[in-house]
Amino acid sequence: MNRRRFLKMSAATAMAMAAFSLDGLPPKGGLFRVGQALARTNYGPANGSMGAKEITSVCEMCFWRCPIVTKVRNGKLIKIEGNPKSPVNGQRVCARGNSGIQLLYDPDRIKYPMKRVGARGEGKWAKISWDEALEEIAHNMNKVKKKYGPHALAYFDHGASAENLREVFMAMGTENYTSEPAFFQCVGPAALAYLETVGYIATGTRQYNDMPHAKAMLLVGSHIGENVHVSHVREFIEGLAAGSKLVVVDPRFSVAAGKADIHLSIRPGTDTALLLAWINYVIQNNLYHKEFVANTCQGFADLKKEVKGYSLEWAAEICDLKIADMKAAIEMLAKASPHVMIHPGRHSTWYGKGDVGRHQSYAILSALFGAVGVPGGLYFPTPVKVGHIDCVEEKSKTVAPVEVSLKEDSAYPFSAAFGTVTADIIKAINTSKPYPIRLLGVNGVNIMQTIPDPYETMKAIKKLDFIFCEEMMAGETALWSDIILPDAIYLERYDGVYAYEGLTPYITVRQPALPPMYEAKPPYWIAKNLARHLKIDGFPLPDAKALVNHDLEAVNLSINKLNKQGGIISLPANPYRTPENLKIATDSGKIKLSVAAFEDEDLDAIPKFQPAPAPPKGYARLIYGRCPVHTFSRTMNNLWLNHEVPENKLWLNDEIARQLKIKNDETVVLENQSGKRSNPIKVLVTPGIRPDAVYMTHGFGSKSPHLSRAYGKGAADGYMMTNTVEDPFMGATSKRTNFVRIVKNKSILDIPEIIPVPAAIPKFKLRKLAADRQKAGVRPQYASTGDFSIQERRGGE
């Protein structure tokens, strides 16, 4: 008898004894067959997924959208693989791509249109019909428009589901439709910096960074590898495998740092000091590409003058780095010029002030090294032509005139081109200034975990006349919605045509593996039918399949033709330029080392170092990032992904942990600078984080009990973000301007200041903030009842 059988028998005996003692009779089914009633003989698929029916498509487990093959057997989706004909990922998909199956079959999916029956945020709904749901939305959109004007309607959107419905909002005449958290809470500052400096958005949804051919790379805060977009990670690893050097600047020891030649564990909030000191060093030591700078750049003399004061010695104190390390790193990068990848990053809404300047500094370094339009540098996208048809004709999408526009008259000179500032919409809802916003449509974005401050968002939602969402899972946004529309998931629908303009351009399409389950409907159907209820003319095509075929027809393709070629066609790339044919798309035709357009708006033409306030006494800065197994706050309920990584951990510096007597895997709660407390979170004690910062992966700690696996697991960084600083350029909201201390066994532990902060960096003023918040009428405790109840319940465990 082995251990397992022995244990099993002991357990069975104990149960049997219990049964005897209760009714005096032996249990039915025999002593050793306890728990075997469910047994079935199923050896699993003998040949795995081989031989299943294959349909090519496009992933949407994240926005990177890798070409995939879906494999269906007996009407069930059994496997997702990369499309072997894809030049970017081949047969590879990441953890999330593999787990799309469990999004499709998640029992917590929203199955029917639903109407709220409890209070907003309570998550009580009743099933209604599609007709009722769409009629109620249409009725409320018309009513709000009639009473408050078209701009009282606003739309928060992200991803492939959001596009068709956006046109419906546009047809209503509102200006508040591209308010994407993907821009104002993520890529905004980086996108603007590159657009104004090199004339195109070198980092946006796509990243035109030639890592495979780089001889040296610099990552500042970018944690490629933990942040997984398959082709991007592949390009990074290919570059390293081919011998590229790597410098990583990060207060945390990331996976990328683990592969770096030099890791600079920088004081958070001081990156621009390092970058400006490096720019100065490159200029002073003649390490720049003189020919490229002379022929292609403008503003060099101004730049040279402006950065002159930023020495490595000065930066060493500000950044808490060693001069020798900083010097070795910049020399390593300069040596590789022009084949050097100064990675532009993407998520850039860090500190509010100085975010544009930081990304401008990367772009300036790329330009100084001549690393634009050359192998290993920033490259140019290759335009890929496909057709386009408006769902609603352009002339029917006129923005209604308005006396004071929230979008055009924004306090931020560079926001309007990208949409209405997200934070301004929340403010307008809460203050009715410059005009009331009374109705919100939300599609494909969890506004609670994405937009800081979530307590302000909750307050705003309570003020709305109406809020609806189009969603797949009943997450936090659904909790707060009056009507929920069940969205078909990406495996159940056609969408647009996907054209990739990177190093290996291609055209592919998303097509369904299976028809939608339950009463879910594809986004095109939803938008088309809502338009019908609103009596908006448009949506001339019967469905999304027809739309895809229409867009393919313009390039003499069709879904059938594509499918005959493996679902994808590759096109030639044109990423590089010779000096003769290098054309910069700025108004002057030059790369702008100094941006006059910024100066015209009383902003810095050349970045200046503006220190982000350091943590107040007793607190550490909360920083956050990605985990390769999850996307934003979207995948935490996925059976397989949850099983793999069910919760996040709080990275705590080992010396701090020693002083506070906190052990690895111990559970703590965080309290931020305004008294907001987190869900309990386990601690990872590690030397891989600075003592003045703590880190967690984003998106955990869901407050929706309708996500049975994700609910309350781990802590949410978003709920700790109550202090935001708006970027003066485009109003993006900062996310690294929050500080936490640790609560263990109900007592508050101050985080000791191990590394002194130089006088040049002000400390965040704690009291002032609390006073401000009280003046503004915000209680310095839990602002929402929902939040409070979860805290209480979990606190009592």
């Binding site: 003989t41 698929p45 003998a46 040949n47 496997k79 593999n98 590898g225 592949r234 690893i237 683990g258």
Partner: protein
């Protein structure tokens, strides 16, 4: 005898778990505690004698030269004839419900004859096997059925790569014959087996990487004694 082997190149691995999930999908493995053929444990960041390391332990059955799991199987012994696919050469051996294939070196299970007693799972120093108690061979009065990585034998025989190798987003996994250059070269340049003084089963999954990463892997994950 030729031996199938795998290299896991930690210089390329980012610890993303794609391998573990492709395996789960390919073989329809229930998402229950401990039920997996393939796993990733993220290690660190932690101090090593070569500086900080933040790496991963991507694990699977090692298809050992001297598998500890095979001799402990209490199932009735039968005569089984193995055929080499290429040459048609055959070899007959007496086996229980699990064995080491004489032509490719993979360790396999006959699920129709497994008693689910867990002896093999208990014997493996790497914890590479689990017993699925949702299913059982009722005719044998079984308690469950053991499962583990097969090196994707059916796929490999059909000319495909193992599911974990195919999905690996950075091509960190290399599968083939142990004497093929793509594997042998890695062994020559220092890929290690996760062996210790007490555990010498001859694992055929090799790990290649920076010394700091191999040090952390070995320190945290190499079994120090036989179970």
């Amino acid at each position: 005898m030729r031996q199938y082997a795998m290299i896991i190149d930690l210089t390329r691995c980012v610890g993303c778990h794609a391998c573990a999930l492709a395996c789960r999908a390919e073989w329809d493995i229930p998402a229950q505690d401990g039920y997996r053929r393939n796993w990733v444990r993220n290690l660190g960041p932690a101090k090593t004698s070569h500086g900080l390391s933040f790496t991963a332990y991507p694990g699977l059955c090692n298809h050992c030269d001297k598998p500890a799991c095979v001799p402990v199987c209490p199932a009735d012994k039968i005569k089984k004839t193995f055929t080499e696919p290429k040459t048609g050469k055959t070899k007959t051996m007496t086996v229980a419900a699990t064995w080491k294939n004489p032509f490719d070196g993979t360790v396999q299970i006959d699920k129709t004859r497994c008693l689910g007693c867990g002896a093999c799972a208990d014997a493996c120093p790497y914890g590479a096997r689990y017993v699925n108690t949702n299913i059982a061979n009722k005719n044998l009065d079984g308690d469950g059925i053991a499962d583990k990585c097969t090196f994707c034998k059916p796929r490999v025989e059909a000319g495909l790569r193992p599911a974990c190798v195919q999905t690996c987003i950075t091509d960190a996994r290399i599968f083939g014959w142990r004497d093929e250059p793509k594997i042998a070269d890695y062994i020559k340049k220092g890929a290690i087996r996760m062996e210790s003084a007490q555990v010498q089963t001859g694992p055929n999954v090799y790990y290649y990487g920076h010394p700091k990463d191999l040090e952390l892997l070995t320190k945290t994950s190499t079994p120090q004694e036989m179970p």
